[in-house]
Point group: C2
Amino acid sequence: MKITPYHIIGVDLGGTNIVSLFINEKGKVIVRDKRETLTEKGKEKTINQIVESVKTVIERGKKKGISFKSILGIGIGSPGPLNTRKGLIYFAPNLPGWENVPLQNILKKKLKMPVFLENDANAAALGEWWIGAGKDVNNLVLFTLGTGIGGGIIINGEVVHGFRDTAAEIGHMIIHEEGLLCNCGTKGCLEAYASATGVVKRTISAIKDGRKSILTEITNNHLKEITCKMVYETAKKEDELCKWIVEETGRYLGIGIANMVNILNPEIVILAGGMIEAKDLLFNPVIKYAQKYALKSAIEKVKIVPASLGDDAGATGAAATVLKRRGKL
Amino acid sequence: MKITPYHIIGVDLGGTNIVSLFINEKGKVIVRDKRETLTEKGKEKTINQIVESVKTVIERGKKKGISFKSILGIGIGSPGPLNTRKGLIYFAPNLPGWENVPLQNILKKKLKMPVFLENDANAAALGEWWIGAGKDVNNLVLFTLGTGIGGGIIINGEVVHGFRDTAAEIGHMIIHEEGLLCNCGTKGCLEAYASATGVVKRTISAIKDGRKSILTEITNNHLKEITCKMVYETAKKEDELCKWIVEETGRYLGIGIANMVNILNPEIVILAGGMIEAKDLLFNPVIKYAQKYALKSAIEKVKIVPASLGDDAGATGAAATVLKRRGKL
């Protein structure tokens, strides 16, 4: 008997873009569709965009000779909080109007196919575990470093969801109790220090405290124009303040990583998100401080590496979610 | 065919006592043996004590009509660091002379039975999960609050060991970077603030800074005599300093718990160890601050409770390790 190869569709639903991938069982991308999320046109429109994007990759897959029947299902990586069992999005900060949306059921009806929902950062972690930077390990922690700090945890090859699907909120780990105020309302979270927002806030605060930096010239004293990328680029120009901010950012991230390594002893820690474009400027201090702050027995042989799937991590992991839920991975 | 019930032996190897339990498959204790660990007489003597203790419970079990053949194996909960796969103890701070001891193989030869090794705090967590405070949940975090702070993590009913058996070192989670110096050499670990040692150090330090407390009278100004228990008892007597220390200890533990809840979203957090004798005086502030510092979505419905197996948690969990490794649990 010939065993038919199967295919999966993974969708990354973001506040900026919707990415859909038509993938084979080994993770090879056959067709890719990316379109800007028209969030301002409302929830219905965005849902239709997902449907259109999925139909597009199926059509284009067909033209490449792949049968509809070989598709195991569709995985959606979505911002949350959400309920993976019910396929329900409770709330999505970057998608205005999304409250208690039973996305899984809606898409199932419209697309006549099994649909599975996963948190976007968990999906990215699962994608990296499946065919990315963590493809040879059983235990990993992924940090997403962007406007905020999120994460995904894989233990024994499975995503850790926790009791009510809120696990891996590693940006809200307190590393300096009663320290800087975080967006969540608590003081001292890792995110308040080491997210892109945290980097910018600490830089502006230091300049206002009298520290000199060429950022004042670059922005013509409009400090609100400072971005995280600008801080990293200015650090390369030997600006003392920016060099210090970058070093401190590495130290804070090193503490967050050391905590996760002491708590879970993963084999690999993967950093993802916009900030990793800074490469060694970010990774060198991060690795140095993670080693300094973690227990030697826990951090020994732990690799700290950049994500390897880039913008496709979420959609790849969403596809892997289908394989997991259908017992194929 | 009649299915024979099976039995297990669990041993908790501690620096103070060796506890052996002869347990049935449902966790009921049939025979218990407790003896003082004669650590000063060396490693060989302690190993012989384990052998004698196990033989004692087997003999007494026999008298109760339980056949040797029904015993599935022996589980040992041991201080570490250790290697659970090889059954090797690398090092044990409270057992002088124990370095690279292949305890599993040694006991297997001496006792002619399968032997399995587990870290003591992991064993306690597994014991509480099996028949203790966490018996109805799949995900839990256990904190052991004693001289130091250790822990055990259960996810989907399995102990989290990590890549190299060092997971759940939750006492060395940094909650105040660059804060109080910890025994591990790093600054700001939870253990430095909230272990019994941390409580005593903070109290002495406050008195030396000029804070008034009746502890100076109680100890006749020998501040070195202050114990953690004394601080809790003095807090009950409305001593302002001790009340503040107890409140702050609850706050630090609340931060540690909030971090674990944000990271793993367990259903239950179990506190074990000597400090839980303080009951509400400990639990009231701990629960208040955990709720304050954790994300609302993560802490909602999470229970924070005392361990229920007391001194038997380690040996019970060591027995459960046998069931796990032999595929019976």
